[in-house]
């Protein structure tokens, strides 16, 4: 087990304990069951209790210097690989992508801002964040974002009849 993995396991256990504590407190305040033997609070209490016990087990194992193990199969491709040999990794781009997407989600709730306009702006910003920014690239990105946003707007409004306002 690497130090990095140990820190990640420690963080996972602590966050899990926090989630369990919150859930336990919230579930404890629920009124008792009226119609069935378990009621709405029992399952959350059981699950959070069991989860907390397992998180404590992880902390104990870490304290004893024992390995926790790590998942070898990945749902997300690319994160489990060691890319250092082939290319530079850009964690900042992941953060920027996330923040831009959050900003886009917030922009969609701004009254009066049309979906197609917000989408074109978001797509352009993200293409330029992730890709090259030479003059020619900016022109292509602008074209792609306007055409793409228009097509998506049409698809959602006409084909799926989603109310995007």
């Amino acid at each position: 087990m690497t130090n990095r993995q140990g820190r990640a396991d420690f963080g996972f256990a602590i966050v899990t304990l926090g989630v369990c504590a919150l859930t336990w407190r919230e579930a404890s305040n629920l009124p008792p069951a009226l119609f069935d033997p378990l009621g709405p609070k029992t399952f959350p209490l059981w699950i959070s209790g069991l989860l907390a016990a397992l998180a404590v087990l992880i902390l104990l194992r870490l304290a004893l210097g024992r390995s926790i193990g790590a998942s070898r199969t990945s749902l997300i491709t690319g994160l489990g690989d060691d890319p250092s040999a082939t290319h530079r990794t850009r964690p900042g781009l992941a953060a920027a992508t996330f923040l831009l997407t959050a900003a886009y989600a917030a922009a969609l709730s701004v009254p009066g801002l049309r979906f197609a306009v917000a989408t074109a702006g978001y797509v352009l910003a993200l293409i330029l964040t992730l890709g090259p920014r030479r003059r020619r690239d900016v022109m292509i990105a602008a074209l792609v974002s306007v055409a793409g946003a228009g097509a998506i707007d049409l698809l959602f409004r006409v084909v799926f009849a989603v109310d995007l306002q």
């Binding site: 899990t16 579930a27 629920l30 959350p44 926790i68 998942s71 749902l75 997300i76 969609l108």
Partner: protein, 504 residues
Amino acid sequence: MTLAEAFLGLFALKPFLILLGGVLMGIAVGVLPGITAGMLLALTLPFTYYMSSVNAVILMIAMFVGGVSGGLVTATLMRIPGEPNAVMTTLDGYPLARAGYPGRALGLGNAASLIGGGLSWLVLVLLTPPLAKIGVAFGPFENFALVIMALALITSLSDGSQLKGLMAALLGMLVSMPGIDEASGMTRLTFGFNAMEGGLNSLPVIIGIFALSQVLADAINIEQGTEHVRARMSGIFITLRDYVVHGWNMLRSSVIGVWMGILPGVGATIASIVAYTAAKNISRTPEKFGQGSEEGIVAAESANNATTGGTLVPLLALGIPGGLTDSILLSALMIHNLTPGPLLYRNHPEIVNTIMASHLVAHVVMFALMTVGCVLFARMMLIRGHFLYPFVLVFCVVGAFALNNRGFDVWVMLAFGAIGFGLELAKVPLAPFVIGLVLAPVAETELRSGLMATGGDIAPLFLRPISGTFLAVAALALIWPFARAAWRRRRNVSWASSPPPSPP
């Protein structure tokens, strides 16, 4: 509707176009590195709400089959598994393509995919009805115990860390609980937020975990350069003799794939690894594996496609998803108020038969499209990520919003994208999380129904033969890996402490 009628129904214009479009989209995401079939299914899920149930399942199955198969192209021509399950194909597909036989490598993989898919369809059709008949006899306690057994098997089979697998499953269960408790009508775990009264819908959670976190990972690796071999049609049509030569390998690997598919949580990636290893161990020329062995390509591709039918067996017969994509299919059915399991067979035979018919027809369509269009698909893999990811994320945002027209769901999707990304970085398996999320409401409802029926007596859960057996298997599955590890440690200690042999 019978199975024959379901087959006929697929050849009407609209269903066939949906199937064709689904397979095409599935292959396309399989071809595009960093975009997975799970992501496509999750993103399409909200929009199936606007379709009829039959058309929705046709689309989902077609995308599922196309996605599993499309990974072959990038694995062979770029040495990048377009889908995680194509990882073993890269070992021999790419060397064979580099040696000047890209068409041959694609042709063999494609044929093996068809045979694997076809054989798994046969198992699906033959095994599901009797299993569903057994499932009809299950009461609430049996159903609860079945869910617990499935979760235990999934966590015990999550390789690397069973402890983390178990915690991931429990976290997933916890996430499903906020909102209105259906049995009592009371709201719970809202933490004082009005928006939480509607609960954390599983769909935005799944989109966040499958799609957003994947794009974030792709953004980190955006500078990854790739070499590729140019696709050629020559050699793509393999002969009858090739089927005869590789027939036994295809059959064996398909059986492995089907079995691995039926087991909850194992999935196509592990199936292809096991089939590849088995083929290498049995081969007369094991030294060729990893250097362009045709047997290696055939084993990996037969097995990963064979899991598609296997995973559908427990889903259709018992309502238990065998894997991640099944959990999305389960959600798709639930959106249409269809509960997978034995009663689906009785109440909605048209859905079950359409799923079965679509599975086979999608494989045939996939085979035809991959044979004719491999050069075109190969060009798609050159689309640059920075043009692709923004549009994927737009679909994530709109998809999360579209199901309930709730802005809150978009924030849930964003939050779980970040959570999924964090869990993956901490090497916590996400598969048990998603399956726990989907199965927890079933487990809770069934247990509470059972207890209401028995007036609060829990003893029948353990004493009834079927539920008792399921719980025993669950306990064994949870305890066995720890017991085995402890036994190995003891054996190693006793070997280390035994005196060295005396010199002659």
